[in-house]
Symmetry: C2
Subunit: 220 residues, 2 copies
């Protein structure tokens, strides 16, 4: 079984690394990190580089497709969307993490599909014909599974592991990951965080998007 | 503030990526991925490569030190242990994830210190003079914070973010990460998993160690 995880320049690392760490334990699975162009990809923080071993053209028909979000400033182009469409035609499972769900939408895969994404972009789901499920951590509809903000990819991937390989292997994977989460705060979703914390998180996002935009304008 | 995260060949990726994703949001923080030799490091699965931008000699005095576990087959050598010792002398915080705690122990930093680590190696803490706290997700003792199996690094790093930058910033970071964990199973620690699941996880680990050993023997 081939699992393709889509990397982009300027992405959030844990969109990819969270699901990877669970899915890679599926017996017989090969995980291939792919990108429009293979090679090193600098993550959004500027501090970390992940390597895409394969170009998307080299992995046309993965059994499992994990679509991560791209940079909000330079969204992935037509070649990537067309790869997602083709891969989805033959995939057993098509999944997304965080704003990666918007790429499934842009590829035309979410018409009438129940889906979720990162909370700041939840409203955009409707424009793709998707039925937004903002209260759910991950949403399974047909062979599509979408997930919420980046760390939700871990929960989604454990669920998917169980679908593919059975509950016992998924539970053993959770045990090997020591995934017994005990966050010191309970502010992981906008329904739980205080108004000040939501405002602060929004300002962090705006600052980050502005700095990405400035970098991009300097380059072009 | 400089945060150094120690990478190794053959390590588990999320030992590093989990804490990174939280700590990188600390205002003014620079995260530096370091390794004994800088460059690309292949993770334990063989599927993913992370890049260490810096050699350990280039980052002698980080403010925060995050020590991740190495390969169980080729443990990090004297140069790495000596770097950990030196870095700890001037660090504000010295932290570890998963079996990275054993490296703090091997560097002589855990005499009489309350600590935790990945459950399969918990018994080894005593040999370093540490006081094992197997029921805790992360343990803060003085300026040392150790954490349990790899995903515990997320919880530890959110706690540390709050110590450094205050609760509100830690909560905003949690919200940006969408870290509202809802694992589909409750088998993340050996006190919660069934005996069959523990046995399966142990067999996964043994197979992995055997295959790493075979690779190593072929190389040497």
């Amino acid at each position: 079984m081939t699992i393709a995880i889509l990397l982009h320049e300027g992405m959030t690392a844990s969109d990819a690394t969270g699901p990877y760490e669970a899915l890679r334990s599926i017996p017989g699975a090969t995980v291939k990190f792919v990108a429009e162009t293979p090679g090193p990809k600098r993550m959004d923080s500027g501090f970390l580089t992940l390597v895409a071993d394969y170009g998307i053209d080299e992995v046309s028909h993965p059994d499992v497709l994990v679509v991560c979000a791209g940079s909000p400033v330079v969204p992935p182009g037509e070649r990537v969307l067309s790869w997602i469409q083709t891969a989805h035609e033959t995939s057993q499972w098509t999944t997304s993490v965080c704003a990666g769900t918007l790429l499934l939408g842009a590829a035309g895969l979410l018409q009438g599909v129940r889906a979720t994404t990162h909370w700041p972009v939840m409203d955009m789901l409707a424009s793709f014909g998707a039925i937004a499920c903002p209260q759910e951590r991950y949403v399974h509809d047909g062979k599509i599974i979408t997930s919420a903000g980046n760390s939700a990819g871990i929960d989604m991937a454990l669920y998917l592991t169980a679908q593919i390989a059975g509950d016992e292997i998924a539970e053993a994977t959770q045990l090997l990951m020591g995934y017994d989460p005990q966050p010191p705060f309970d502010s992981g979703s906008p329904t739980k965080a205080s108004p000040q914390v939501i405002k602060l998180a929004q300002s962090f996002m705006q600052n980050w998007i502005a700095s990405e935009l400035a970098k991009y304008e300097q380059l072009s």
